[in-house]
């Protein structure tokens, strides 16, 4: 094409194709309608993958100019050194629960509605006033104390979601934090509301027990140890692979949910059940991530050594915390759950998780 004719073409009206809709014209690339810069985990990319993968860039993939601001010691905006774990491919992990914003809000909102309806309907029918008085004290003092453990783990994972090397890792930790903080608030508001129907109910007692009651000091120490870790993956691992099965589930499923109905309380199990479902998702994400790291072709053995160390340290604390909770099982008037059974179940659960991850079960959990 000569320059003259080409210039004439440029000044012609361009509106040969009037529609801006897909398929209105065929030209190179007109059918390229999928994100094409990452390898999906399955045959096709999921919607979660499309929303998540590569949004946090990486100089080893597409970040041509590298990170352009650093911390004063030269640490870049994101650093692989923020965990002792190593990976030959940090981008491999995909969250099993596939959460992105829409699914997260749908699930959280559904839980909020379920919890609120349960409490409202229960209160309307006068249910809290029919709770066994000894049970009311347990809810006031011990469920009231436990809410702080959930909050501590929520703030710990909120901190941890800053440090991961990929968007997939950080978003899984972020949703974990969101679930924990919601549940801490669920309990707080639940106790506040039934407290309105229960004369003498002391809403401040839970925090006092959390801070001072010897029963709760092991749990507090265990949670503070998670919060105090400088390794974000240790925080994530200790939360879901250690604390939750040994203490969280033990208290929620092994005590509250089993004992409540025998004390005329049908509300607490519904409120607490949301946390059990949250945990299943958080656990699935955690096992997937640590399984990838533990079977890493280059760093797998080294990582397993590290995770075994984390497991041993945090399991010691969590086991001690769990054992200190034992007196609570004796406090309900009608005793339907035995601590030994709950503990055996908890140990079995953590052994299952450890085995799944290829870790060595610490001696204290062996039986």
């Amino acid at each position: 094409m000569s320059a003259q004719t080409s210039r004439a073409a440029a000044t012609k009206p361009a509106a040969i194709v009037k529609s801006g809709a897909a398929g209105a014209a065929v030209f190179p690339g007109s059918d390229s309608r999928k994100y094409n810069y990452f390898e999906p985990k399955g045959r096709k990319a999921t919607h979660y993958e499309d929303m998540t993968v590569d949004v946090q860039p990486d100089p080893e993939r597409y970040l041509l100019q590298d990170w352009i601001i650093s911390f004063p010691d030269g640490t870049p905006t994101y650093s692989k050194d923020w965990t002792a774990a190593k990976s030959s491919n940090w981008h491999k992990f995909r969250a099993v629960d596939q959460e992105w914003e829409r699914t997260h809000y749908q699930r959280q909102s559904t839980i909020c509605g379920m919890v609120q309806n349960t409490i409202e309907n229960g209160r309307k029918s006068g249910a809290p006033t029919r709770f066994d008085p000894a049970w009311v004290k347990i809810l006031q003092n011990h469920l009231g104390a436990y809410k702080h453990a959930e909050f501590g783990l929520g703030t710990s994972t909120m901190q941890a979601q800053r440090y991961g090397y990929t968007q997939m890792v950080n978003n899984a930790i972020l949703t974990n934090s969101s679930y924990k903080l919601r549940f801490a608030q669920d309990i707080t508001l639940y106790l506040s509301e039934i407290g309105l129907d229960l004369p003498g109910f002391d809403i401040a007692a839970g925090k006092k027990h959390w801070l001072e009651d010897p029963i709760w000091q092991g749990v507090r120490k265990s949670v503070e140890s998670v919060m105090g870790s400088n390794d974000y993956l240790e925080q994530y691992f200790a939360t879901n692979a250690v604390f939750e099965p040994l203490v969280g589930e033990l208290f929620r499923s092994g005590f509250l949910m089993q004992a409540a109905s025998a004390q005329n309380d049908f509300i607490t199990p519904a409120v607490v059940s949301a946390a059990e479902a949250d945990y299943e998702r958080n656990l699935a994400n955690t096992v997937e991530l640590f399984h990838i790291l533990g079977t890493d072709p280059t760093f797998g053995a080294q990582n397993l050594g590290l995770f075994n160390k984390w497991l041993a340290n945090h399991a010691d604390l969590a086991l001690d915390a769990a054992n200190h909770l034992q007196p609570i099982w004796s406090q309900p008037r009608v005793k339907v759950a035995a601590f030994a059974d709950a503990m055996a179940h908890a140990k079995n659960r953590i052994r299952g998780i450890a085995t799944e991850l290829g870790l060595t079960v610490p001696a204290g959990l062996a039986s």
Binding site: S6, R7, A9, A10, T11, A14, I16, V17, G20, A21, G23, A25, F27, P28, G29, S32, Y35, D50, M51, T52, P57, R61, Y62, L63, L64, Q65, W67, I68, I69, S70, F71, P72, G74, P76, E101, R102, Y105, Q108, S109, I111, V115, K124, T155, M158, Q161, R162, N170, N171, L174, S178, A184, Q185, T188, L189, S192, K221, E224, M227, G228, N230
Partner: protein
């Protein structure tokens, strides 16, 4: 039955007040005594006062509210497809969304990460709930924007550019600007980054041009999806503005913080201006086909949102706390927009560089010229011929405008701070930092690199402050490369392996589309390398010459 009886009255039961609920939720925190909390990101500020949460919202009401907002957004997207929105959308507009939506999800998720940085800094737990909601909000924004982009890719006539979006974000010379914006939220001094730069300045001031002004322009171009998503995003910003202001108020009464606050307000304002106004100004003014003379220009929008809304009603009242406000910078930014044609020069630069873009830029036409001249008197004399050249050189076979000496455009230096090129030639400055010469678009950007991002500020040690790093001059990455090879390396090529993603027109026909062969034979170079190689005297001469600017040749 009583006339005033309602279902609500029948079913209502005593509850706790919102304030009481917020107080009890705030009491969930405690000071650890067995093990100290993990390392926080450090700050040089002192925060001794407990910040208050102005929103007093709890997660129980937050999540259903957000789900409802989402339902409206996704319902509207479905409705837009049923109403055949894309048949009437203006491709000129949607093309710019390839750039905008490549940039914005990373700043959003960076804001989520930055909540970790402020979450543990302040005493008390009241604002923690506010930070939690902001963290989840930003996760919302990042993924809802990725979803919108996917939706455009699936339904718009030319998906190329959307399909490589996050890869393009990492590589493009224009998206670099967005990375400077985003990394500033989460790197360096925690308060500087996550409070002053993010919430006090970016969210309080500049999200109004980003998420309010720009969606209005989208609607004028037949795009109802962008306003649906972004006005929903903006509805979350009031919470973030509240978080920022509350944290600011927790620090402002301590005079030892004033020096740093003055530094950071100045830095954050100038960088936001340099980055956001360059990008959003271009999208609004040059991405539109609507030339209604009664609508506000970007300059007018800036005056409304930044000058009146932010500067006069938010910043000026800070003076009563003893904070010295950087009035001169606000005036200088205004002058850059209205007198020095900052936005127009940015659009011109993006257009000169079209071949290394991943979106299409068509030429402005006589109709556009008339509007620009009406809104910015004198515009035609400076930019009219340039756009005529762009139209003329938009056909394959012509010499790429980037290398076409007939045009008279002179390729600019890159600003080491904001990473937008040094487009206002008369304001160009250079300086030496740690023994190396750098170039800057303005005195504000020189100050940012040399003075603000340093280990000491006005004699005070600032050990937490961040540093500039990386290969900040994009051109250096491809110094000495043939432009065709650079485009291939960038991945900005369509699936046939030869047709470029970027095109200097909106002609959706294979015969009109440029291929790598059409641009091959020209070499990219780093202006900074050449500048550094000069002797001090030669550099002075080159600076004076640069400041004189250039004149676009008449296009016949």
């Amino acid at each position: 039955m009583s006339a005033s009886l309602t279902l609500n009255k029948i079913t209502a039961q005593k509850g706790i007040s919102i304030a009481e609920a917020a107080n009890r939720v705030a009491d969930l925190g405690w000071t650890p005594s067995y093990v100290q909390e993990a390392m926080t990101f450090p700050t040089d500020y002192k925060i001794s006062k407990t910040p208050r949460d102005p929103m007093k919202q709890v997660l129980r009401s937050y999540f259903p509210m957000q789900e409802e907002k989402d339902n409206r957004v996704y319902g509207a997207l479905d409705a837009a497809l049923r109403g055949d929105m894309f048949r009437n959308v203006e491709p000129r507009w949607v093309e710019w969304m390839k750039l905008f939506l490549a940039i914005i999800p990373f700043p959003e998720i960076s804001a989520a990460r930055s909540m970790a940085m402020v979450g543990r800094l302040a005493p008390g737990e009241e604002l923690r709930t506010g930070f939690t909601m902001q963290m989840v909000d930003e996760f919302r924004h990042s993924t809802i924007q990725m979803n919108l982009k996917k939706w455009y890719m699936e339904n718009y006539i030319d998906p190329a550019g959307f399909d490589i979006t996050e890869a393009a974000f990492g590589k493009c010379y224009a998206t670099t600007i967005g990375r400077q914006f985003a990394e500033g939220f989460l790197t360096g001094d925690a308060i500087t980054a996550a409070n002053v730069y993010l919430t006090v300045v970016a969210e309080t001031a500049f999200t109004n041009t980003l998420f309010v002004a720009m969606p209005s322009e989208a609607a004028r171009n037949g795009d109802y999806a962008l306003p649906t998503v972004f006005l929903s995003v903006q509805s979350d910003e009031s919470r973030h503005i509240g978080n920022g202001h509350s944290m600011l108020m927790a620090m402002i009464n301590d005079p030892s913080n004033h020096q740093l606050l003055e530094r950071d307000l100045k830095y954050a304002f100038w960088q936001n201006h340099a980055i956001v106004d360059a990008a959003i100004g271009t999208f609004i003014e040059y991405g539109t086909t609507n030339r209604d003379k009664n609508k506000e220009s970007y300059a007018e929008l800036w005056h409304r949102w930044i000058y009146e809304d932010y500067y006069r009603t938010y910043m000026l009242p800070l003076e009563k706390y003893g904070i010295k406000i950087h009035h001169d910078d606000v005036a200088a930014a205004w002058d850059r927009i209205v007198k020095k044609n900052y936005v127009h020069k940015t659009a011109q630069f993006f257009t000169v560089g079209w071949s290394v873009n991943f979106w299409r830029i068509e030429a402005q036409t006589e109709r556009d010229f008339e509007w620009f001249e009406h809104k910015y008197p004198g515009w035609y004399a400076e930019f009219g011929d340039f756009w005529k050249w762009h139209a003329k050189l938009s056909v394959p076979g012509e010499t790429n405008i980037l290398f076409n000496s007939e045009v008279g455009y002179s390729y600019p230096h890159r600003c080491w701070s904001c990473m937008v090129p040094c487009l206002i030639r008369e304001d160009f400055v250079c300086d030496e930092v740690d023994g190396k010469i750098y170039t800057y678009c303005s005195e504000g950007c020189r100050w940012t690199h040399k003075v603000a991002f340093a280990a000491e500020y006005e004699g005070r040690a600032t050990p937490a402050m961040g540093r500039f790093s990386g290969r900040r001059e994009w051109e250096d990455c491809y110094h000495g490369w043939d432009v065709a090879d650079a485009i291939k390396d960038l991945g900005f090529v369509r699936p046939d392996g030869k047709t470029m993603i970027a095109q200097p027109h909106l002609r959706f026909d294979s015969k009109d589309m440029w291929t790598l062969d059409d641009v091959r034979g020209h070499t990219l170079g780093s202006p900074l390398r050449g500048f550094r190689a000069l002797s001090p005297i030669e550099r002075e001469v080159a600076t004076a010459e640069y400041r004189k600017g250039f004149k676009i040749n008449p296009c016949h």
